[in-house]
């Protein structure tokens, strides 16, 4: 290979790398503008609240079963595993604390967020993407109906409203599952289970922060879902890719945001 060829080759590589970076940054900028525009045109979604209610049904009510069942099982597993470790130190009465704190602070918002992304986020992307592929979005624009106000905003708000409720349900059922296994099955004292939990779980530091986390995850997941749907290449393959991207991106976003939020909430505030 001559020097010129090598140079040509290297330049091609660099150009592709540059293109990849620029296109990602471009997409991020577009997504931010899209979120801003969605917020700006949320008036219809909130005034004609029935549109949003229908989306809460699709995003929230239909996710109920999976969220509740997984919450129950996660709580039951936590109680089993936690008991196994705690009883070695003679601290099996702290089982309630362990189950409640891990659910309220971390597992509730995060696992409910991941389930919500794969259950509801993917459905939102596929629906909007398919609307775009079958030119329903263009048809709306033809009829002077703003597709963002009519299609995107209700789905966005439906997801944002559903997510904290689902996370709270997940945590509550998880604690109930922990109670079932810990108290009913293993035989930890019920009084100690609840009272130690109540002494250790703080309303503002633990529960409110968990709710804030779930709101943030709700915004992130639905934002990614509606954006990927709206931005999908309007073909069968494009929609399928967009749906996959929604699940992957929003799962990563949840985990990364969780780290940032935990660092902000539970390290700085704890020492003060």
């Amino acid at each position: 290979m001559s020097l010129a060829q090598i140079r040509e080759h290297a330049r091609g590589r660099l150009e592709r790398l540059g293109n990849a970076v620029t296109s990602h940054v471009w997409r991020l900028g577009f997504a931010s503008r899209f979120l801003f525009y969605t917020m700006l045109h949320s008036g219809t979604a909130l005034r004609r609240f029935r549109l949003t209610v229908a989306e809460i049904y699709f995003a929230g009510v239909l996710s109920l079963i999976i969220i509740m069942v997984s919450g129950l099982f996660v709580g039951m597993v936590l109680a089993l595993q936690g008991y196994d470790t705690l009883q070695r130190f003679g601290a099996s009465e702290s089982l309630g604390v362990l189950v409640a704190l891990s659910l309220v602070r971390e597992l509730g918002p995060v696992v409910a967020g991941l389930l919500f992304a794969s259950r509801a986020g993917s459905a939102i992307t596929a629906e909007i993407g398919l609307m775009k592929a079958t030119e329903q979005i263009s048809a709306m624009e033809m009829m002077a109906v703003d597709p963002i106000a009519r299609v995107v905003a209700p789905r966005f708000w439906g997801g944002v409203i559903s997510m904290p409720l689902l996370a709270a349900l997940f945590s509550a059922l998880g604690i109930f599952g922990g109670y079932l296994v810990g108290v009913q099955l293993i035989g930890v004292d019920a009084g100690a289970f609840w009272s130690q939990m109540q002494a250790a779980v703080d309303l503002r530091n633990d529960i409110l922060n968990g709710v804030i986390k779930s709101v943030v995850f709700g915004v992130a997941v639905t934002w990614i879902a509606v954006f990927e749907g709206y931005d999908a290449v309007p073909t069968a393959e494009g929609v399928s890719r967009a749906t996959t991207r929604t699940v992957v991106t929003s799962s990563l976003a949840i985990l990364a945001l969780d780290f940032v939020l935990t660092a902000l909430m539970f390290t700085g505030g704890k020492s003060a």
Partner: protein
């Protein structure tokens, strides 16, 4: 699926969602104790507070009667100044003793309040004069070793 059914289900969803939040707040987080109750404030000076933290419980006879409101360092006496909020329902004699205790071996530290015999009760802004500092494990061990060494010397004689 018609509108009424959707509305019904969304209603059920919102109700059980809010129910779960209330369950977390009331049953798990225990909003009820010591949030809006009337309290009065007393101060105490301790030579060493060990690992006591703000919001640690104050117990008398094992019952929680208040919470630690503030911990400061007094730069003149080189002591810790602990401010305690006690529930208005519970009155304590002026010569009560405040001890820093530990729940269990690895547990959290709390203040144990032992009632005295004085007829005058503690008022808002009073100071608890009799205090006992936290037991520092290192001091305890060194004392124990010192005593052991002293015993050994006696036996040799």
């Amino acid at each position: 699926m018609n509108r009424a059914t959707i509305d019904l289900w969304v209603g059920i969803f919102v109700v059980i969602g809010i129910g779960a939040l209330l369950f977390l707040a009331l049953k798990v987080g225990n909003l009820a104790t010591f949030s809006g109750g009337e309290t009065y404030n007393v101060q105490g000076r301790f030579v060493n507070i060990g690992g006591l933290k703000v919001r640690a419980p104050i117990k008398s006879a094992g019952v929680v009667v208040g919470r630690v409101a503030d911990i400061r360092f007094d730069n003149e006496t080189y002591e810790a100044l602990v401010s305690m909020n006690l529930d208005q329902h519970y009155q304590f004699p002026r010569d009560s003793t405040a001890k820093i205790l530990t729940s269990g071996i690895l547990g959290e530290q709390y203040i144990g309040l032992e009632a005295g015999g004085d007829g005058v009760m503690l008022k808002n802004g009073d100071r608890v004069r009799l205090t006992q500092s936290a037991v520092v494990l290192e001091n305890l061990i060194s004392q124990f070793l010192f005593n052991k060494a002293a015993e050994g010397k006696d036996e040799k004689k």
